[in-house]
Every structure is written in structure tokens, then in C-alpha cells.
């Protein structure tokens, strides 16, 4: 039996705007950026964490929480 984490972040296809914020998620345009925050943590372990988060509203009215992994690169979506 294995244990799987629920709601783990998964890679996301994000198009960026000029200021680095997400302009589209999986082809769906971002209507508005509601919040933006940064997490920098776990620097004392072998796996430091640096992420720039965005809470966005998509064109279809859905909320999404995205982050850019500033250590390894890449965009991810997580549960809002």
C-alpha cells in the first residue's frame, strides 16, 4: 500500500506577461490577478523553497492558484 498526497501541486502550462505574472493558463486567458505573494522557506534543508504565487481569475470565471518555482523553474497549479 502506498500513501499519496491529496491536492499536490501539478505542473501547469502558463503563458507569462511582461511583468512575470501569468497571462494564460492552459490556453485560457487570465482575467485578473487577485493576489500575489512570495514564499521563501526551508533554506536550512537541502531543498530550499522559493515560489512566487498568484491567485487569478480566469476568463471563464474560475479561480486558480498558480506558482512559479524560483529554484527549479516551471509553473505549477495547486488547489485554490
Amino acid at each position: 500500500m502506498s500513501v499519496r498526497r491529496l491536492g499536490a501541486p501539478h505542473p501547469a502550462a502558463v503563458r507569462r506577461s511582461h511583468d512575470g505574472s501569468p497571462a494564460a493558463l492552459a490556453g485560457r486567458p487570465v482575467e485578473a490577478v487577485l493576489e500575489e505573494w512570495v514564499v521563501e522557506d526551508r533554506w536550512w534543508t537541502g531543498r530550499p523553497l522559493r515560489r512566487r504565487y498568484f491567485e487569478v481569475v480566469l476568463e471563464d470565471g474560475r479561480n486558480a492558484v498558480l506558482f512559479r518555482d524560483l529554484v527549479a523553474g516551471g509553473w505549477f497549479e495547486q488547489r485554490a
Partner: protein, 757 residues
């Protein structure tokens, strides 16, 4: 208007701010800030440090504090004028009242909002930080009605001119929503918003230390303390341009910071208005001169040094008159007379100890003939050719320091007697800041990192107490190279290096007291000391000196108590009354024992380090002993003065015609007594004058900068290099220099001053 930072914590927000005020000042200047506020938690402990560091950089200091209210929320208070400053001091004093009911378990300071409403004049109030602010914190938790209520109360107390809604952008999840609500509240109240940074570090590389401080402060580990930590580096001091970009949604709030800053004109370096008792006595010059001349006539009657003593006295009296310090010396004489009364009471009538003076002067004040004549010192400065410039010179900008040692029983009665003589509200002890040393840092941060306690303790004990930059090496020796290379242990190395020298908590100076003509809590906040019934100002001796406070040092010395017991015992056993002033200083049998290090229980030379050194230096006179005692101190040890001195003494013993090498001819008269090595702080001054052409005042300023924590940053503001280059006496720096030490040294070489800035 460019952005000005109005909310900034230094390391004097203990275990929260991660940068010393000197570091913040330099960073702010480099970023192009015109002014910087200091708003530490419930205190002004670091305000004078910032003000002094900022001034030579052309940076204006805005004095303030983040005050904790009884409901644990915060407001930010900034001083507009002297009235506001007095009110802030009183509010902070009130906040600390009763926090030492249980001396070993202080409770956190706080003040009722009613008190703030009563003492609002002259202060500007910002509504508080994002997380814990009286208004912002409530909005963040969606308690909008409560937030509005508190905001209206603050608006009523401070008025629309002096109350602002504070916006912050810590890059936390609900920033925009919170700031939107706050801006709407501000509009309803009819007051502007102001943007602040809630700074906790001067540079990015201190963010980790700030995180670690949170863990230490809350008694948890970094792993456990995530909800309590700030979570990112948004609290690093940023440039005005970066802050303008950060608050792109609220440009008016950015402008408001600059507008407000223009109005906050209180200057801590010049507007305090402190006076000590006797400072305005018009007859003081005449009375001091008459007293000293009479005493000189008696003391030097028939002595060959009388003419030199008279010249020295007139020189000193002229300097004292020009500095307006006659009242200062007369006050100290009064204190000594008070000490005599107390000594007579404590010792009892007809005591064998009655021949002993009540106390002894120590330190730079023994170079003063005025102190010698008035009984504040027992050392003849003329006979001993002592250099006056460190204690007294025309460029003195702070009151001189007179240290007086007393037997403990006399001192314990003297301190309350001083409070009675000058007033309980006008006298208080001086603070001292316990700073992180290598071992305490290893222990605190090892625990925060969740490292095995046994290994942390091994690492702490193996570390060199003076080797903050070598922790890596000691760690490897203590727990093995492979383990020491892991991420957590390497994090420990970084934290120890960054925290070294920063204040960890405030405590009481062993004997410093300040006295004023006005109530002290209008000049500097007062807080209870750990000892019941004692209170202290929030400044240490250096900040007190910068403030121009009259500080008296009444120190209790166990050895003086032992001497008094000895004199009593001799009288009891042998029926003899000993007069210590008649003991010869040249008894060969005594020096033979000293050279053999048979000095257990002998004051100043009984430690293991001293005893090891005695066998090498082999002192033969009181002068040799003076050098010996000074050698075993961090400054000469780290500065590389010890080895040259010992080697040259050995060479002289082997061959009396040995010529001591000096790095430069100008240094020979200055360093002759210490065989070419820089050992004493006075020699730092004399070297700066002889070698680089500093005036006595400038040289004393350099010496003070070197003896402070974070001395490297402080000395940079001295621009030694440009000055030395201009000096016609400079060829190249003395070769006794070694890499600049960050640590302040009690006695040091001039090596830090040799590194070009």
C-alpha cells in the same frame, strides 16, 4: 516626493530585527534614502545608535517605536517634536511598568489605549503593521467593525494631521484585499494612507537570521515555526524606487511617506535638552579652581614635581572651563564625599578600615590631576607621565567617564543613597546589552535548527569564543567534516557568523547610573531592572555618552571587599592598623612569586591565561604588570601584540643592548613602554596622532568607534584612509596589522584603522 521608510526594526527589537542600526544606516544611505525611521518594539534602545551612525552619512533619523497595546496589537508612533519625544518616552516607560514583578520571568510590555490617547501630543500615529497592527491586523482577520472603531479612537486622539492608515506589502497572500479595505477605511475617515516597509533586515543575507530569531524567540524550531515566521524577504530594506514599484496600486501612500517625513523634525542628537545637576552653576569654574589649587599646594608641598603639577593643573582647568565641565567635576567630588559618609556608616566607628579610601578611581580618569587632587583617583598622573588626551581634550563631545570601584557593601548602600540625594525619578541605572557570542549563538541556533543537542553542545564547547568566522573549522573538529558539511550544520555556521555581536536582550550595567535635573522618563524610556527596586534607562553607556548624560560608574569590586576584610582581620589578629598607601611597589620577593605565577587570588593576574603569560613576560615592576594585565585581552591577542612583546622582552633579558624595532620612527616615543606593540587604548589614540596626524578629539573618536560592536561599519564613516593619505607623516601602515576584526575590542591594535576604506 520620494519614499521614506517610516517603519523599521533594528536588532534592538530583540530576537526580531536582524541588523544593527549602523548596518541599517549604511544600507539606507547606499539606497539613496534621505531619512530613516527606527521603530523598535516598545523601546528606544537603538535610536541613539542609529542617530549617531546616520549623521555622518547625511541621513536623517526619525525617532519612533512600535508600541504594543494591552490587547497585544501594535501601533507605530513617530516623534514630530520634543513634546512628542517626551510623550513617547513616557508611554514606553508605562508599557514596561510592572513587567518585572517576577524578576526572572519578565512579562511582555504593553500599554492601555487610554494612555496613548492621553499622551498623543507631538506624535504621529500610523495604524500598525499588516499582521498585528491595531487596525491592519483586524482588517486582515476580517474584523472590520472593530478595526473602524479603533481607527476612529486613534483619529480622535491624534487628529487628521497626525493619524495615518498604514499600508504594507509583505507579499503575503491577502495583501491586496487588506490594503483595499484599509484604503476604503481611510477614505471614510478622511485621512491619507501611508506606505511602510516593516523592515527587519538591512540586506537579503540577513533574512535567514530573522527567520531563526523567530524560532529562538518562540522557543520552537525552524521546522515548527512556519506560521509564526515572515515567510519571505519582503522585509529587507529596499530603495525608494523599489518601494514605489511595490506600491504601484497606492502611489499617494508612497508620496505621503515623504510628506510625513518632512514634518518629523525631532533630532535626537541635538534636541534632548538634558542637563545634569550643577551644569548651569555660574560659580563652578571658580570653586573648582580654588579647591584644586589649595589641594595641590598641600599634596605637592616640597616635591620635585610641583612645578609640573601646577602646569598640568592649569592646562586641565583651562580645558575643563572651555568645555563647561567644572560642575561635572564638582558633582563627582560631592559623590565621593557622599561615599565617604556611607563608608563611615558601613564600616562603623573606629574601624581599622577607616584609613582606606571609600573607593578607587580606574580607567582613563586616572590621567587627570583634577581627579587625583579631589580624591577621585589615587594615581599621580604627573609622576606616572599619564596621557591626558583620552580622558579630556578640547574636542570632547561627550561627558568624560569616571569609573569608581567600591567594596560591595559600601556600593550596595551608596546606590540607593544616590537615588535619595538626586531623586528617584531623576536617577536610574544604565542598560547593557547581552550580545550574541559564538557559544551562545551555537546553542540558540543549533536548537532552532533541530540539531542533536549533544552535538550542538560539543560544537559550542569546542568553538573559539572569539572565532565567529572560524566556526566551520571548529564544527568539523567537533562532529566530523562530513556531518559538518550538511545543509543544517552549514546553516548554523552562517547564522553564528551573522548574529555575532548583535544584542540578544537587555540587562543592567554593573554600576553605571545617570542623573538628571529633569525627570528621566521624559528624556529616555525607563524600564525595571532584574534586581527588585532598581530601574534603568534603555540606553547603554555609549548611547548615554552620545546623549551627553552624566554617567557615574559605581562598581562593586569583590577584591576591594577582600582587601577591607583583610585589613579588619590584620587588626583583629595582630592588633595593627594597616595604611595601604605606605606599601612599597618594588618588593623583589613579591615579583619573584609573580614571575613564578604563584598568583592564585591575586587581583587581575590569577586567571589561567594570566598565569601562563606571567612565566613568559616575567614582570619586574608595576609598569611591567600594567602591560601584563592589558596583554591578556581580546584586542592585543587578536591584534598580534602578544608575541612581539614577549619575544622582545626575552631578547632584552638576554641582551640589554637589544634594539626594539619600531614600524615607523614616529611610533617610538608612543610605543616604547610596550616594546613597539600596541597594547593600550591610549596608544591607539597616540598612534593615530603621531602617525596619521589625527587631532586628540579625532583620535579618541576613532578609538571609540573601534571599541563598539560592528566597529568596521562605524569606522568606515571615519574615512581614515583619505585622512591618512593627506597626512605628511604617513609612509605605510604599521606591520602589526592583521585582517580587520568585526568585533569591538577593549584594547586593540590599530589594525582596523590600517585597512583602507
Amino acid at each position: 516626493m520620494p519614499y521614506v521608510e517610516l517603519h523599521c526594526h533594528s536588532s534592538f527589537s530583540f530576537l526580531d530585527g536582524a541588523s544593527h542600526p549602523i548596518e541599517l544606516a549604511h544600507a539606507a544611505a547606499e539606497h539613496g534614502h534621505s531619512a530613516l525611521a527606527i521603530t523598535d518594539h516598545d523601546g528606544l534602545h537603538g535610536a541613539m545608535e542609529l542617530a549617531q551612525a546616520a549623521k555622518p552619512l547625511g541621513l536623517r533619523t526619525i525617532v519612533g517605536a512600535e508600541l504594543t497595546l494591552d490587547d497585544s496589537s501594535h501601533i507605530t508612533l513617530l516623534c514630530q517634536d520634543r513634546t512628542g519625544y517626551g510623550n513617547l518616552c513616557r508611554l514606553i516607560t508605562k508599557a514596561h511598568e510592572g513587567t518585572r514583578e517576577r524578576p526572572t520571568e519578565p512579562t511582555p510590555p504593553s500599554v492601555p489605549l487610554e494612555e496613548v490617547e492621553r499622551q498623543a501630543a507631538g506624535l504621529v500615529c500610523l495604524s500598525g503593521c499588516a499582521q498585528d497592527g491595531a487596525v491592519g491586523g483586524r482588517v486582515d482577520r476580517e474584523l472590520h467593525a472593530e478595526a473602524a472603531l479603533v481607527a476612529r479612537r486613534l483619529l480622535r486622539a491624534f487628529g487628521p494631521d497626525r493619524f495615518r492608515i498604514e499600508l504594507q506589502r509583505p507579499f503575503a497572500r491577502r495583501d491586496r484585499r487588506r490594503n483595499r479595505h484599509l484604503a476604503q477605511l481611510a477614505e471614510r475617515l478622511g485621512v491619507p494612507c501611508v506606505a511602510t516597509g516593516d523592515v527587519h533586515a538591512h540586506a537579503r543575507d540577513r533574512v535567514q537570521l530573522q527567520d531563526a530569531f523567530v524560532a529562538v524567540r518562540t522557543g520552537t524550531t525552524l521546522d515548527e515555526s512556519e506560521p509564526l515566521r515572515r515567510g519571505n524577504s519582503a522585509h529587507v530594506l529596499a530603495s525608494p524606487e523599489a518601494m514605489t514599484a511595490r506600491f504601484a496600486d497606492h502611489p499617494d501612500a508612497v508620496e505621503e511617506s515623504g510628506r510625513l517625513a518632512e514634518r518629523l523634525g525631532f533630532d535626537l542628537t541635538s534636541d534632548l535638552g538634558y542637563r545634569y545637576p550643577g551644569s548651569e552653576d555660574g560659580s563652578a569654574d571658580r570653586r573648582l579652581a580654588a579647591l584644586c589649587r589649595d589641594l595641590l599646594a598641600t599634596r605637592y608641598s616640597g616635591r620635585g614635581t610641583r612645578a609640573a603639577a601646577e602646569r598640568r593643573l592649569e592646562e586641565e582647568l583651562a580645558i575643563i572651563r572651555s568645555l563647561g565641565l567644572s560642575g561635572f567635576f564638582l558633582l563627582h567630588r560631592d559623590l565621593l564625599e557622599l561615599a565617604r559618609e556611607v563608608a563611615a556608616e558601613v564600616r562603623g566607628p573606629d574601624s581599622a578600615r577607616s584609613l582606606l579610601p571609600p573607593g578607587r578611581g580606574r580607567g582613563s580618569s586616572v590621567s587627570s590631576i583634577v581627579c587625583y587632587l579631589t580624591g577621585l583617583s589615587h594615581v599621580d598622573p604627573v609622576e606616572n607621565e599619564l596621557f591626558l588626551g583620552r580622558f579630556l581634550n578640547e574636542e570632547l563631545t561627550a561627558l568624560p567617564d569616571i569609573d569608581l570601584d567600591f567594596p560591595r557593601d559600601i556600593r550596595d548602600v551608596l546606590i540607593p543613597r544616590v537615588h535619595e540625594r538626586y531623586g528617584h525619578d531623576k536617577s536610574a541605572l544604565v542598560a547593557a546589552f547581552a550580545t550574541y557570542q559564538v557559544r551562545s549563538a551555537v546553542r540558540d541556533f543549533g536548537k532552532a535548527l533541530g540539531l542533536p543537542p549533544g552535538e550542538v553542545e560539543r560544537a559550542a564547547r569546542s568553538a573559539d569564543p572569539f572565532g565567529a568566522h572560524d566556526v566551520d573549522r571548529y564544527l568539523g573538529e567537533a562532529i566530523g567534516r562530513r556531518r559538518a558539511a550538511s545543509a543544517r550544520w552549514q546553516a548554523l555556521v552562517r547564522l553564528v557568523r551573522d548574529a555575532w555581536g548583535l544584542a540578544r536582550h537587555v540587562s543592567q550595567h554593573p554600576g553605571g547610573m545617570v542623573i538628571s535635573t529633569q525627570p528621566l522618563n521624559e528624556i529616555c524610556p525607563i524600564q525595571p531592572a532584574a534586581m527588585t527596586g532598581r530601574q534603568m534607562v534603555q540606553w547603554d553607556k555609549e548611547s548615554c555618552a552620545d546623549a551627553g548624560f552624566l554617567k557615574i560608574d559605581l562598581l562593586g569590586l569583590g577584591m576591594l571587599s577582600a582587601v577591607e576584610r583583610c585589613v579588619d582581620e590584620i587588626a583583629r589578629v595582630r592588633g595593627e592598623r594597616i595604611d595601604l598607601s605606605r606599601i612599597a611597589y618594588d618588593d623583589g620577593r613579591v615579583y619573584a612569586e609573580i614571575q613564578a605565577a604563584e598568583t592564585m587570588g591575586v587581583f587581575q593576574i590569577e586567571s589561567r591565561a594570566q598565569m601562563q603569560m606571567l612565566k613568559r613576560t616575567r614582570p619586574e615592576s608595576l609598569d611591567d604588570l600594567t602591560v601584563q594585565v592589558a596583554l591578556v585581552r581580546p584586542g592585543p591577542i587578536q591584534g598580534g601584540a602578544v608575541h612581539p612583546y614577549i619575544e622582545r622582552r626575552k631578547a632584552l633579558r638576554a641582551d640589554p643592548s637589544y634594539e626594539v624595532p619600531y614600524d615607523h620612527p614616529s611610533l617610538e616615543p608612543v610605543l616604547r613602554d610596550t616594546l613597539g606593540a600596541i597594547v593600550f587604548q591610549d596608544q591607539v589614540i597616540e598612534v593615530a596622532m603621531a602617525f596619521a596626524g589625527f587631532s586628540p578629539g579625532e583620535a579618541e573618536g576613532l578609538r571609540r568607534a573601534m571599541s563598539r560592536a560592528r566597529s568596521e561599519a562605524a569606522m568606515r564613516s571615519y574615512s581614515w584612509a583619505s585622512r591618512a593619505l593627506a597626512s605628511p607623516r604617513r609612509t605605510r601602515p604599521p606591520s602589526a596589522c592583521s585582517p580587520t576584526s568585526r568585533r569591538g575590542c577593549a584594547c586593540t591594535t590599530a589594525r582596523s584603522s590600517c585597512a583602507p576604506s
